[in-house]
């Protein structure tokens, strides 16, 4: 199981995005935007260039996005122009990913010039320094997140993110449709992109096929159009994995439910159930029951334990 999920593991560590996409995602206005600029991030941390501007360059973290707040901008404004230009040139010459001036403070011409000379994007943000710093960190965390694509369906079933896996043609899409019909929400059908954020897995659909389902015999349907915006969501944590498999005679399936099967995706442990598919079994209802049962387990209740207790107490 583990091997299967990790096979398509994509590169992590360094992620490049276009400067335009970065600016759009964080509502930044470009001050200096070299053509075809792409930003390469290797850390989600940001740094304030105060000490650097004061002339102390030791330990400067040049791989971080540089954020100018009011303190740095006011300090820079107090520096003699030629000193500021010289230090700004040294700063941008370090090939920092980009720099952002917070609070909508007017960029000093020396900073703009130094950025342009070194072809480093410089942006301006209306947000206060702390807020834009945190937003930049969040954005980079997401861009750097480890991710994999898994063949399956991701649905929000009564608040639990359930990843349905199983062979092509086993009926995952049909189950997805039924789940939506019963008021649950579809996140992704067929290809689920899973990103690791901290110890949480977040799943979403590839943009092209988001909220589309292929139902054999019917064709392609747009779930959002058909059932409305409440029937879908863009992303959801992945909280459990249900593997659908063809019912095999002679194979032992979970009968009692006292065992805790686990699987791993990107190093995160998740509860896993193997659900056999057989004509006459209403899968959707089985899935709802499985979700309710997992939730009760999380809350400390176990039906098998209670049954055991009843057996003990019986005369």
């Amino acid at each position: 199981m583990l091997g299967r999920y990790n096979r398509e593991k994509e590169e992590k560590g360094v992620s490049a995005v276009s400067a335009e996409a970065f600016a759009a995602a964080l509502s930044l206005s470009p001050v200096c935007l070299p053509a075809n600029a792409s930003l390469t991030f290797s850390t989600p941390a940001v740094c304030r260039p105060g000490l650097f501007l004061a002339g102390y360059e030791e330990f400067f973290a040049k791989s971080r996005v540089v954020v100018f707040g009011s303190a740095e901008m006011s300090f820079a404004d107090h520096l003699p122009k030629e000193v500021l230009l010289e230090r700004a040139r040294r700063l941008f010459a370090l090939k920092i990913p980009c720099a952002v001036i917070a609070r909508g403070i007017k960029p000093l011409p020396e900073l703009v010039r130094a950025a342009e000379e070194n072809r480093i994007p410089l942006f301006s943000s209306k947000e206060i320094t702390g807020v834009i710093g945190r937003k930049i960190s969040d954005y980079i965390t997401s861009a750097l997140a480890e991710k994999i694509t898994i063949h399956g369906v991701l649905a929000d079933v009564a608040g639990m993110g359930v990843l349905l896996t199983g062979k092509s043609g086993i009926g995952k899409s049909e189950v997805a449709l039924e789940l939506v019909h019963r008021g649950h929400r579809l996140v992704a059908d067929d290809s689920v992109i899973i990103k690791k954020k901290g110890e949480i897995l977040i799943g979403s659909a590839p943009d092209t096929i988001r909220h589309m389902l292929e139902i054999r015999g019917v064709g392609i349907i747009n779930v959002e159009r058909m059932f409305g915006s409440v029937a879908v969501r863009v992303n959801k944590s992945v909280d459990a994995v249900f593997e659908l498999s063809e019912w095999e005679e002679g194979k032992t399936y979970e009968r009692i439910g006292a065992e805790n099967l686990q699987t791993e995706i990107l190093g995160v442990s998740l509860p896993k159930l193997e659900i056999p598919v057989k004509a006459g079994r209403n899968l959707c209802v089985v899935i709802e029951a499985a979700v309710a049962s997992l939730r009760l387990k999380e809350m400390g209740y176990s039906a098998p334990a209670e049954l055991e207790k009843r057996l003990e107490q019986s005369e």
Binding site: E11, T149, H151, S168, G169, S173, S191, P206, T208, I209
Partner: protein, 78 residues
């Protein structure tokens, strides 16, 4: 088994359907990869999600007894 090839046409729904149908005729597990995206070649929507254009560099992986035949068949569709 692995094969790398260049797409001879843009991916359209018709092409995706042909790929999925061709792949569906084999028992092997078949995956199609493009850039950082991967899909089960037997799944129509999975193939559609790759959204590649003519000239794209694609990788084809097949695992199973009929892997070689599967790769040949899908190559002729791409």
């Amino acid at each position: 088994m692995k094969s790398t090839l260049i797409a001879s046409a843009d991916l359209t729904l018709a092409v995706a359907k042909k790929i999925a149908q061709t792949a569906g005729g084999f028992r092997s597990e078949i995956r199609l990869l493009y850039r950082d995206k991967g899909a089960n070649a037997k799944s129509l929507m999975g193939v559609v999600s790759l959204a590649y254009k003519k000239g794209a560099e694609l990788s084809l992986f097949a695992d199973g007894k009929d892997a070689a035949a599967a790769i040949r068949a899908i190559e002729s569709v791409l």
